[in-house]
């Protein structure tokens, strides 16, 4: 019995020092899953749009993602994003996207030549025709200082096309 109390005391101390009680955890039911993210930039402002219809903006990528989450009704969960589309204007943000902790490393990275106005449509297309470059591969290429070409997402009259 004494060992049990010692164990619980140690557990409580570890919990306090580990700072586990951050208060920002959410039950799965409260999550709003994102499946596709579109990252754009204009005049120094970064715009992030999710396939759920939510959007955010900020001076940098992290600020834009924070704005996206705070503006959503519910807990927006970007870790479920499978497809990350970065427009040409915002391509300078690609290295930050690759190392962002808010995105799953297995998410696929695309480069869009134009602004993507309908992320839901893009998502439908990409689910059927996924690319091959993941954020983890892109990150590895960055670290090894080699070039890795991202698939290019182009909008056509009938829909989308993936090239490159």
């Amino acid at each position: 019995m004494k060992r049990l109390w010692v164990f619980f005391a140690a557990l409580a101390v570890c919990t306090i020092f580990a700072g586990l009680d951050e208060g920002d955890t959410h039950d799965a039911a409260a999550l709003v899953p994102v499946q596709a993210l579109v990252i754009d930039a204009k005049d120094g402002t970064v715009f992030v749009t999710a396939d759920t219809g939510d959007n955010g903006r900020g001076g940098n990528l992290d600020a834009a993602l924070s704005d996206l989450q705070s503006g959503c009704a519910g807990a927006l969960f970007t870790q479920t994003a499978e497809h990350v589309i970065v427009t040409s204007r915002a391509w300078y943000l690609a290295p930050q996207v690759c190392v962002s902790r808010q995105l799953r490393p297995a998410a696929k990275l695309y480069r869009a030549m134009e602004e993507v106005k309908e992320p839901e449509e893009a998502l439908r297309f990409l689910q059927a025709h996924p690319g091959s470059l993941t954020l983890s591969h892109a990150r590895a290429a960055l670290l090894e200082s080699r070039e890795e070409a991202a698939p290019v997402l182009m909008q056509t009259e009938g829909g989308f096309r993936l090239g490159g």
């Binding site: 019995m1 060992r3 049990l4 164990f7 557990l11 919990t15 580990a18 586990l20 955890t25 959410h26 039950d27 799965a28 039911a29 999550l31 899953p33 499946q35 969960f77 870790q79 479920t80 499978e82 799953r104 297995a106």
Partner: protein
């Protein structure tokens, strides 16, 4: 000296206490017996008739000697030198013949044949194994053991426990095989018991194991005589209690509790695969609800995307948190089991079906619980039923609930901490002086996880430290 009046006074008011006077050899003798425990026909044919037919007058002392040496026809005869001894003989199915002038008494065994015959085990199903399960009668049980183990070295030492119940207990071991420390420890523990009655299995288990504060079984119980005898041959010490249709084996370890008697009924490959599956089921049963609660509440990023999307979708409109859902379902599962256990079989089956299928389905349709939580809880429960030992399964159910709460409150950190606590607890347990985690502590994992071919099992379990370590040449 046996006093008839005192003996009758001891049983005053007992409707089954019978007395009969018989004239034998010119002496008036008194016969006492308890109706129901004895066979009236046998008393009449083998006790009263021979005594009555001894018409030649003789001294009571001589008559006593003749009765002791064959006048009375019974296979087992005991002398009672005091009224207490005579009373004890009466309650054990003996008929007591009192010779009042000399104050001596003879007890003749005339037990009734009305007792339950050995039948197939109810809780431990067997396909190919022996179907003679233990009964409530101690002597029947010892005879069943003798049929399986015909060695003269089989020791069956009887003692009486319980001031009022006077329950007979037999300690069984094989001389020259079992470590002598084990039966000595068992007998010492039995000798230390000083209670009114030893009637329930819990009383036996708690007192014999030293009333440890643990839900984990420190004694293995079995209905099967073949399993019991195999345990004796492995070097364990056995315990039979009059009135209980089970046999106990000790010492026991976690590895032994995870073995099923049916492992020896199939080939070693199938048995090994089933054992590994059993350990996996143990892990799933213990950890799945806790890990699910932790993942769904804290570590969603660890789940595959499609699975997470499926869980999120299934939890839409469910008003309760994942922890509340899972704990509620675990409690509902336990309640269903208890309801099925205490109801008559026909109703119990119907209740289980209604509770499991109808209520479960209705709860999901009403969006009170999510299908994912229901599947997790049901899978965990079913995996728990694959464990061969019911008490081990019950103990792990308690820990499953605890780990679920820890997972729901602290995430995977809580589950890990709970698991470590469980390991610490198990490592500290001992059964009759042997470590509970013995096979794993000594890295004898191979014998615990995988069943070797019988031809290769030349050595007995080292944990039991048998005198004769070799079980085949």
């Amino acid at each position: 000296m046996v006093d008839g009046k005192v003996l009758a006074a001891r049983f005053a008011g007992a409707a089954d206490f019978e007395t009969r006077k018989v004239i034998s050899g010119g002496n008036e003798l008194e016969i006492f017996f308890l109706d129901g425990l004895t066979s009236s026909g046998d008393i009449a044919d083998f006790i009263v008739r021979p005594l009555h037919e001894a018409r030649q007058e003789e001294r009571e002392e001589t008559l006593f000697m003749r009765a002791e040496r064959g006048l009375v026809w019974c296979a087992s005869m005991k002398k009672a030198s005091s009224t207490d001894e005579a009373a004890e003989l009466l309650v054990n199915g003996f008929c007591v013949i009192l010779f009042p002038k000399t104050g001596k008494a003879l007890g003749c065994e005339v037990k009734t044949g009305e007792k339950r015959s050995p039948s197939a085990p109810e809780a431990e199903n067997t396909v190919k194994g022996a179907k003679d399960a233990f009964t409530e009668t101690l002597r029947t049980n010892t005879s069943l053991i003798r049929r399986h183990l015909r060695t003269p070295e089989l020791r069956l030492e009887e003692s009486v426990v319980g001031r009022r119940s006077l329950t007979k207990i037999t300690v069984c071991w094989v001389e020259g095989l079992t470590d002598p420390e084990l039966p000595a420890r068992m007998k010492k523990r039995l000798g230390e018991i000083d209670i009114d009655g030893l009637l329930s299995p819990a009383a036996v288990e708690e007192y014999v194991t030293g009333s440890r504060k643990t839900a984990f079984p420190l004694l293995e119980f079995t209905e099967r005589t073949d399993h019991f005898c195999q345990g004796l041959l492995d070097g364990q010490v056995g315990l039979l209690v009059d009135g209980l249709p089970i046999g106990y084996l000790a010492p026991v370890s976690f590895g032994r509790l995870m073995r099923s008697p049916e492992d020896r009924a199939t080939d070693y490959l199938s048995a090994s695969m089933l054992r590994i599956l059993r350990y996996l089921a143990l892990g799933v049963s213990l950890l799945l609800p806790g890990i699910y609660a932790a993942m769904a509440m804290f570590h969603q990023q660890m789940l595959p995307t499609k699975l997470l999307l499926s869980i999120i979708e299934s939890k839409q409109d469910v008003p309760f948190s994942t922890l509340f859902e899972v704990v509620g379902l675990l409690c509902a599962f336990e309640l269903l089991q208890q309801a099925g256990l205490h109801l008559p079989q026909a109703i119990g089956t119907a209740v289980s079906i209604i509770g499991g299928l109808v209520v479960g389905t209705a709860a999901v349709d009403a969006k009170l619980v999510s299908p994912a939580a229901l599947i997790v809880t049901a899978s965990s429960g079913i995996c728990g039923f694959t464990l061969p030992n019911r008490e081990l399964s019950d103990a792990l159910r308690l820990w499953r609930l605890g780990l679920t709460v820890l997972g729901g409150v602290f995430g995977l950190f809580g589950v890990t901490a709970g698991l470590l606590l469980l390991l610490i607890k198990l490592a500290g347990l001992e059964s009759l002086g042997r470590s509970y985690l013995a096979p794993f502590g000594e890295a004898e994992v191979k014998g615990a996880l995988v069943r070797e071919r019988l031809a290769e099992q030349k050595w007995r379990d080292g944990m039991l430290r048998p005198i004769d370590e070799r079980n085949q040449r």
